[in-house]
Amino acid sequence: MNPLVDLPNATHDASMSLQDVTVELDGYMALTNVTFNVDAGTLMGVVGPNGAGKSTLFNTIAGLLPVHQGSVTLNRVDLHRGALAYVPQRDSVNWRFPVNVSDVVLMGRCCRLGWFRRPGKKDRELVRECLCRVGLWDYRSSLMTELSGGQRQRVFVARALAQEASVLLLDEAFSGVDAGAQEILVEVLQALRDEGRIVLLSTHDLNNLSRRFDQVLCLNRHVCACGAPSQVITPAVMKELYGVQFSMDGEG
């Protein structure tokens, strides 16, 4: 079963650059001198232990946190038109608020509508296409709380598609998502990457999926390493990142 349907879409060529970014949170340095670049069409995994500043990094890129020092540059991105999409961590969503799958994807159209327009037929058609792309059209009327963790993530990805986002940030995208569903999610994200979008996905546990990222950023308050998985996922970096010796299964 291949849920990915061709969707005519504008090509995306955003790029992102962080220069010496330092972020202070409640008096401590959550991020220090973070520097890295991401080109259009990159699927980047951001890995690091809990408290390494992954969410801080995403919140900073998203403009939710002020930059203490340094700069975040997003090229060819119109922030006011929803070019940046954020897939929230599980606990930043109000699950008590009962919306169904279509409602959530339709939210992605808000930024295109302006204050006094309601979504029309074209918007609903786009919602259908986006849900087909992530393989969840059959679940369109299900409540979000009825879905599994992986399905919820895919709904949020569909929302980012409806938003026509060029940059996607997925914070702790794998938490509460089983291995098979992680696989499906990565496949969907790879297809988005192929359209030139930038996809950043953070995860605290490193697994064999990490090798499917184009780039891996190892973060522990500072950048420990950044590059292709084969160059970055080494025992030395892992020791710096997690502070313990890792056995590197499958490592040549």
Partner: protein, 259 residues
């Protein structure tokens, strides 16, 4: 009697419509606070001889805006800011009423509501509010869904989430003015929360909860009015207890499950 019936239907529909947001966004405390905080406005209305409901509208909206400003400025939690404003405005209102011994005001009517004696102006005010609120809910529906469900995501998208929240609170303040005339300062809370909570247990999607809450609210307010008329009971408490009865029946065999 016809006026009272129209008033009952308006309160039965409008309070539960906003109540759906109140129960899903934990706004019960601010709803209660707004109801108490409009008291000085109503007292002022009595002094200057304007229908109290008219003066209550700007008072409620001002307090709703102040909550956010106070909590931001002082670095306090919203709950604390609400507590401060709620108590002080209510105290101010009671003070104003006690100073006006010359004006003939039944404080009990203000606190308990007096739908059987609602004036034509009161009905016109309620009708106007109904129009504005329904328009607001319709136009901003998708924005409100987004900020309610995923506040962070909506902010990242570039939405002015603060504005949407202010609009929601202003609409809440408006329906509270309808509710106060029928159920009084204290029991307006019942019409905000109970029908919506009942609907929350019965149906799934948010829009269904709104509609179901409005249906249950109307059933409760009209039945309560009927009971109050025929058995000479106070209308506000009668409506509240009918709504509670519906809730108890539903809650005894339904519960909402979260994962």
């Amino acid at each position: 009697m016809l006026r009272a019936l129209v008033g009952a239907v308006l309160v039965g529909v409008m309070c539960p419509l906003l109540g759906a947001y109140v129960v899903t966004r934990n706004l019960a405390f601010i709803g209660d606070a707004l109801a108490h905080a409009v008291l000085p406005g109503m007292a002022l209305g009595f002094f200057v001889g304007i229908n109290p409901a008219i003066v209550a509208i700007p008072t409620g909206i001002t307090v709703a805006m102040l909550v956010r400003a106070v909590s931001r400025r002082a670095g306090l939690s919203a709950d604390t800011a609400i507590g401060i404003l709620f108590a002080s405005m209510f105290a101010l209102g009671l003070m104003m009423l006690s100073m006006s011994s010359s004006v003939d005001i039944d404080v009990e009517d203000l606190l308990m509501g007096q739908i059987l004696a609602i004036s034509p102006t009161g009905i016109y005010v309620s009708l106007a509010i109904t129009g504005v609120v329904i328009l607001g809910l319709f136009v901003f529906h998708h924005w409100m869904l987004f900020t309610s469900f995923d506040p962070v995501g909506s902010q990242v998208m570039g939405m002015r989430t603060g504005v949407v929240d202010y609009v929601l609170l202003a609409l809440l303040a408006l329906v509270i003015v309808i509710g106060i005339q029928a159920a009084g300062v204290i029991l307006v809370m019942a019409m905000l929360v109970i029908p919506a909570a009942t609907a929350y247990l019965l149906v799934g999607r948010f829009i269904s909860i709104m509609l179901m809450a409005a249906a249950l609210g109307t059933a409760a307010s009209v039945t309560g009015l009927y009971l109050s008329f025929h058995f000479n009971l106070p209308a506000g408490p009668a409506m509240t207890l009918v709504a509670t009865g519906l809730f108890v029946v539903v809650a005894s065999f339904r519960r909402r499950v979260f994962t």
